[in-house]
């Protein structure tokens, strides 16, 4: 058995990960995932080890709640066979390895740049002259959008190839947001700097990413969190999910020109994020989560206040959502628009909502539970059609589910336990992996330490890393005018992808 099985948030010695040759590494990992929809790759990355590149592959098994880690040392002068040729879900991971280290894959279908990272291997290639895929035809036309979009959103380039009004192909090129976060994690030595970086990976998922970072760090430092700390994290994650889902319902209404829904859902987000500010001083919950301590203890008075907020929020939300879901003009825009099939979602390794919309049961809250999700006995909400309607339904039902979890949590507030606030230094020569279900889906952070216990590599994977391809597939054969609603119904992160 040339892999090691670990649990979520477990730290192991790097030397405990068995190393094998590339042939075995290739066969075994493909074998693990092929025909096993319950297993998928949560992270696959390389780092420099002397003159060679060390690859680490992490496959999560949702039924046994394990993560299977294997490793392999390769020489970048040698061409490799690509996993992608057998399993498409590895395509972006291999493109990233190619882009960063110059490893050549002989049978990868398209080694397109991932994000033009600052530390890329070939610096002669720049984002400005990226050659987009094109089809030579007199009947087709291309539409280029971006990097700057019409609204107040992040940059990315979308290149459509259209047959009349119909989209034949969409290519998405990202990387404009690349700030070099993974390198800064190593360069900045203060814990507070790293925690600040974690909440800036994607500002709309400040809680999700900072909880993941806190779990990684605490596991590396062998710190046992108390229940009150995990209580705050669980509550903050559900509040974040609730706020963003409501905001996204507003965005979807905007894109179908339904003014009432747009305004009402837009304003309904405010009491939730204002509550986050009342609790921690920031509307997006920046500064709320810190490793090793309960930064802003959740008091019974805050519990009372949150109950009041929800008591007002719930009927107003229900009234609006019932109206939206009974409007034929809205439903006709949602149904059978932007479909991703179950087979496609599985093959590209979609996660989070983008998986659950098409009956792929992927939810870290139930498959690799963390914080207080053991106690909440979470059951993921699944839909079958994979269209905009499924994604909107998931948002509606997850809002309702989050409210019920929040109500359950605040009915029994964990009392604050005073900590000495001192974290030990991270264990040397170690590897840690942490998975958290953010509102978009699975967030995965991996950390490696060197012989002095210093951070040697910090690898971040936002759920958007998997799911951008789902958006590109969903718009095929749709009218180009339906692109905005498809895009909004996924609401993927640019900064989380570009890092």
């Amino acid at each position: 058995m040339n892999y090691i099985s670990i649990k979520n948030n477990q730290t192991i010695l790097l030397s405990d990960i068995p190393e094998s040759n590339y042939e075995w590494f290739y066969d075994k990992n493909i074998d693990l995932v092929t025909g096993h929809p319950e297993r998928h790759c949560v992270n696959y990355f390389g780092y420099k080890s002397g003159n060679n590149i060390k690859l680490i592959c992490c496959i999560a098994d949702d039924l046994t709640h394990e993560i299977l880690i294997s490793t392999c040392l390769v020489n970048k002068a040698h061409d490799l066979e690509s996993f992608t040729n057998k399993l498409l879900c590895f395509e972006k991971f291999e493109r990233e390895i190619h882009e960063n280290f110059g490893i050549n894959y002989i049978d990868h279908p398209w080694l397109k740049p991932v994000r033009y990272a600052n530390n890329r291997f070939d610096k002669s290639r720049v984002i400005a002259n990226y050659p987009f895929y094109s089809i030579d035809s007199e009947e087709l036309h291309e539409v280029g959008v971006g990097p700057i979009h019409a609204g107040i959103i992040e940059p990315g380039h979308f290149r459509f190839i259209c047959n009349g009004e119909q989209i034949l192909h969409l290519e998405i090129q990202l990387g404009y947001q690349h700030r070099g976060i993974e390198q800064l994690f190593i360069k900045n030595k203060k814990l507070l700097q790293r925690a600040t970086l974690a909440e800036s990976i994607a500002g709309d998922t400040a809680v999700g990413h900072s909880v993941t970072f806190a779990h990684v760090w605490e596991s590396l430092c062998d710190f046992q969190t108390t229940r009150d700390i995990e209580f705050s994290r669980t509550l903050a994650l559900e509040l974040e999910r609730l706020a963003i889902h409501v905001g996204d319902l507003s965005g979807v209404c905007t894109d179908i020109a339904y003014q009432l829904g747009s305004s009402v859902f837009g304003r309904l987000r405010t009491p939730i994020i204002n509550f986050l500010q009342e609790w921690g001083g920031n509307r997006l919950a920046k500064g709320l989560i810190r490793p090793g301590r309960n930064q802003f203890p959740f008091t019974p008075a805050l519990g009372q206040r949150l109950k009041q907020v929800l008591d007002i929020f719930e009927p107003e939300f229900n009234e609006m959502v019932e109206k939206l879901f009974s409007l034929p003009s809205a439903l006709s825009r949602f149904e059978r628009t932007g479909v991703v099939s179950n087979a496609d979602a599985l093959s590209i390794g979609a996660v989070g909502m983008a998986a659950r919309m098409t009956n792929v049961n992927r939810d870290i809250r139930s498959s690799h539970p963390f914080s207080l999700y053991h106690d909440l006995n979470h059951h993921p909400i699944l839909k079958r059609h994979g269209d905009v309607y499924s994604r909107v339904q998931i948002r509606r039902e997850e809002v309702e589910q989050s409210i019920s979890y929040i109500r359950k949590l605040i009915s029994e507030i964990e009392p604050f336990i005073v900590q000495d606030g001192i974290l030990k230094t991270p264990k040397p020569n170690s590897f840690c992996l942490s998975l958290v279900e953010g509102w978009r889906g699975e967030i995965c952070h991996c950390a490696l330490t060197d012989k002095n216990g210093e951070l040697m590599l910090y690898k971040i994977k936002d759920p958007s890393f998997h799911n951008w391809l789902a958006l590109a597939l969903s718009v095929r054969n749709n009218e180009i005018s339906d692109f905005p609603i498809c895009n909004k119904s996924f609401n993927l992160s640019y900064s989380g992808h570009d890092l």
């Binding site: 107040i152 992040e154 900045n188 009402v264 837009g266 009342e278 921690g280 920031n282 997006l284």
Partner: protein, 249 residues
């Protein structure tokens, strides 16, 4: 139809009657106030993740501050964050809060370009550019125009094309990969035009200041008309900053 009227009725009046005087609820980390208390300065300076705190005298640069509140948590007798959300100025050095300062940050009317009030005083259309922003300031810029904050009541709006804009609003530290696009967008905006920086990342690079993946040379070429600090900037900070800039003679 009746359902719609019911919804509108149940929503009631949502708009904030006066966004220049309203108080923010609960805890809010706005403008810091630094006392003359003696503390271990080396320890205080070392706390800050972005080196926003300097000594002789102790001061906090809001253009670098991430508003994490760590300094106030560890040295509550020295630093406290007030709920004052009016943090914007047209002068970079007005964002630096000194020991003992407890007055509002304002735009300096003497150094505002003369045409700004005359041309943009009643109508200001802006083109937003996210250049490495993490989508938090973008969120709050969007929120500034929702039904509650309703910035468009002052004639301030975001537009889709730089050709329709009176200026650009930059969020994020300006990544190398976005540097060209920022320049193209600025060039496409007709004169006279303003540049507004929103958020700590845009003003100083924030936590990304040391990154080799950013390129801030654009900001060396042109004068900045307004700095709006925050991480992210609160919608009230944004609205008040823009009003302060355009309404002053």
């Amino acid at each position: 139809m009746i359902d719609n009227i019911k919804i509108v009725f149940h929503q009631g009046k949502q708009f904030i009657p006066n966004p220049t005087t309203v108080e923010v609820p609960g805890v809010f980390r706005g403008r810091p106030v630094i006392s003359h208390e003696k503390v271990n300065e080396a320890e205080l300076l070392n706390l800050c993740p972005t080196d926003a705190i300097t000594n002789n005298p102790i001061s906090i640069d809001l253009g670098k501050c991430t508003f994490c509140g760590e300094c106030a948590r560890c040295f509550p007798e020295k630093i406290s964050f007030s709920k004052d959300y009016k943090l914007s100025s047209n002068e970079r050095n007005r964002l630096i809060i000194m020991e003992g300062d407890d007055k509002q940050i304002e735009v300096n009317p003497d150094t505002v370009r003369k045409e700004i009030h005359r041309i943009f005083g009643k109508s200001l259309k802006l083109r937003q550019i996210s250049a490495g922003g993490d989508n938090s300031c973008e969120w709050e810029l969007g929120a500034a125009n929702n039904v509650q904050f309703d910035m468009s009541r002052y004639g301030i709006d975001f537009v889709a094309s730089p050709r329709h804009a009176d200026g650009i609003v930059i969020t994020g530290p300006i990544t190398k990969n976005m540097a060209d696009a920022v320049q193209i967008c600025y060039d496409a905006t007709p004169d006279p035009k303003i540049i507004v920086l929103v958020g700590t990342d845009a003003i100083s690079g924030g936590i990304f200041a040391e990154s080799t993946a950013i390129d801030r040379s654009f900001l060396e070429k042109y004068p900045v008309d307004l700095y709006i600090p925050g991480n992210p900037a609160h919608p009230l900070t944004i609205i008040n900053g823009l009003l302060d800039l355009t309404r002053k003679h």
